[in-house]
């Protein structure tokens, strides 16, 4: 699978608690460096896997800061790979960056404004030269997104790409006094934070001690206070509000319900009834044993399990059990075989 990204560093989901862009990328680099060091310890050469590392970043509303963050990330990634990990393949130095626009930046109030927010964010990302974009659906602040809002998100990207032409040039803000200064500033602050966290000790131990959790808690409180006190303006929410009874535009889509994919559920149940139970038991036991053993490669037993008809949920459940938690976190299902 030459185009498969075996490792996607996802800074989006944890930064959505309200981290700023420096914290977001510092934690992202902490994770990337941790995985890289683990792979190097196992004897995998850096140029064999570095080209397939991708980064999924967040995009908030501060236009130039988000652009500078992505530019700083590219610089830091290249320098780290070359100088610290000894990468030589040019592909190891170029970070593949994809992005989701921040759901946290959207408002339930006057939801049509979220389409405007998505446009500003898509423009920033196109100018920053990311490899892929997903714009959050305008109605996700107040419902499970509708098909209509998904289409508008896609159309926004197409308009930015095909009509504005901003994506036709690489790094159009390169050389801008403001963006260059901001990039340099973020680059320094991100790296200072990476080094200061690593100086505290092994990130896995810091995580067990709840150090990251407390960082997230503080960020969430900080963000909530900024919104509450109006320090971070949110049009329609803490400034330029309208009364709820006038806030009706594009709200009707919210009442339309989407059913679960019942047909798909039946297909999976049918598949489960028909598969070879003996073979399934054998491969899942194999996976369980491999996961319990220290340092075994889980890739082969996982491939074996899926080839015997195990679902992703079942594979995940067996791994959870092996690592000492429940097969099903919700407690709604039991393992398909006894181990």
């Amino acid at each position: 699978m030459p185009k498969f990204h075996g490792f996607l560093e996802d800074t989006y989901y944890f930064s959505e608690v309200g981290l700023d862009s420096v914290e977001e990328m510092a934690l992202g680099f902490i994770e990337i460096r941790y995985v890289v060091r683990e792979l190097l310890k196992r004897g995998v050469a850096i140029d064999r896997f570095a080209p397939r590392i991708a980064i999924l970043v967040n995009c908030r509303m501060d236009f130039f800061e988000e652009i500078a963050k992505i530019r700083a990330t590219r610089r830091l990634f290249a320098r780290m790979m070359r100088e610290e990990f000894g990468a030589q393949d040019p592909r190891s130095l170029s970070a593949a960056i994809t992005c989701h626009t921040s759901g946290l930046s959207l408002t339930s109030q006057q939801p049509v404004n979220n389409i405007v927010r998505g446009t500003v964010q898509a423009l920033a990302l196109a100018i920053a030269g990311v490899q892929a974009i997903e714009i959050s659906a305008f109605d996700e602040a107040y419902r499970t997104p509708s098909p209509e809002s998904h289409l508008i998100a896609l159309r926004t990207q197409q308009i930015v790409d095909l009509e504005s032409n901003v994506a036709k040039v690489a790094d159009p803000l390169g050389g801008s006094y403001f963006v260059e200064a901001l990039t340099g500033d973020l680059e320094k602050r991100i790296w200072d934070m990476v080094l200061s966290i690593e100086a505290k000790g092994d990130p896995a131990e810091l995580s067990d001690k709840g150090w990251f959790r407390s960082l997230f808690d503080k960020a969430a409180e900080r963000y909530a206070a900024q919104i509450r006190e109006g320090k971070l303006p949110k049009v329609g929410l803490n400034v330029h509000q309208v009364p709820p009874e006038e806030d009706t535009m594009l709200r009707d889509v919210a009442e339309r319900k989407m059913d679960p994919c019942w047909g798909r559920i039946e297909q999976v149940q049918e598949m489960k009834r028909k598969r070879d139970q003996g073979r399934l038991a054998a491969v899942l036991s194999d996976l369980y044993r491999a996961a319990k053993a220290e340092g075994e490669n889980l890739m082969w037993p996982m491939i074996g399990a899926t080839e015997a008809g195990a679902t992703m949920g079942e594979v995940g459940g067996i791994l959870r059990m092996a690592y000492g938690s429940r097969y099903d976190p919700v407690g709604g299902t039991e393992p398909p075989v006894s181990l």
Partner: protein, 134 residues
């Protein structure tokens, strides 16, 4: 009155935890005792925790679609066990239409994105006080 006890929980596979944590903090700061059940709860688990912890109010944080399936199931379980514990639902995804439906099924209060801290605290206090009077 003091010592209002509130269970805060998130249903099913809904991963969004920020709102639940924010509300839990808010209630704690208002002097209530919060039992935080976190994510991945089915209605049966919530009813058991509510009984074990002897709570006055169950607060559900909803940021996914599952609430229309699980909340009625939770209300039925409470009814079956003759537990008169008010259930409140909070979350920006609860639509006006669903709000009416949930209230008609017996949910005590629904808090949308415009709910204020004061409104949430007062509604819970009132519900707990009304229950004490029962």
């Amino acid at each position: 009155m003091s010592g209002v006890r509130v269970l805060i929980a998130i249903l099913g596979m809904d991963q969004h935890e920020l709102g639940a944590i924010a509300v839990a903090r808010l209630l704690r700061d208002a002097g209530m005792e919060v039992i935080y059940a976190g994510r991945f709860n089915l209605p049966g688990m919530i009813v058991n925790s509510a009984v074990e912890e002897d709570v006055d109010v169950v607060g559900l944080s909803c940021h996914s679609w599952e609430y229309m399936y699980y909340v009625p199931e939770l209300l039925n379980l409470l009814e079956e066990r003759q537990l008169r514990i008010p259930v409140m639902v909070g979350g920006s995804v609860v639509t006006p239409g669903d709000t009416q439906l949930l209230l008609s099924k017996g949910v005590a209060a629904v808090f949308g994105p415009a709910a204020t801290a004061g409104e949430i605290v007062q509604t819970i206090r009132d519900a707990a006080r009304a229950r004490e009077g029962v």
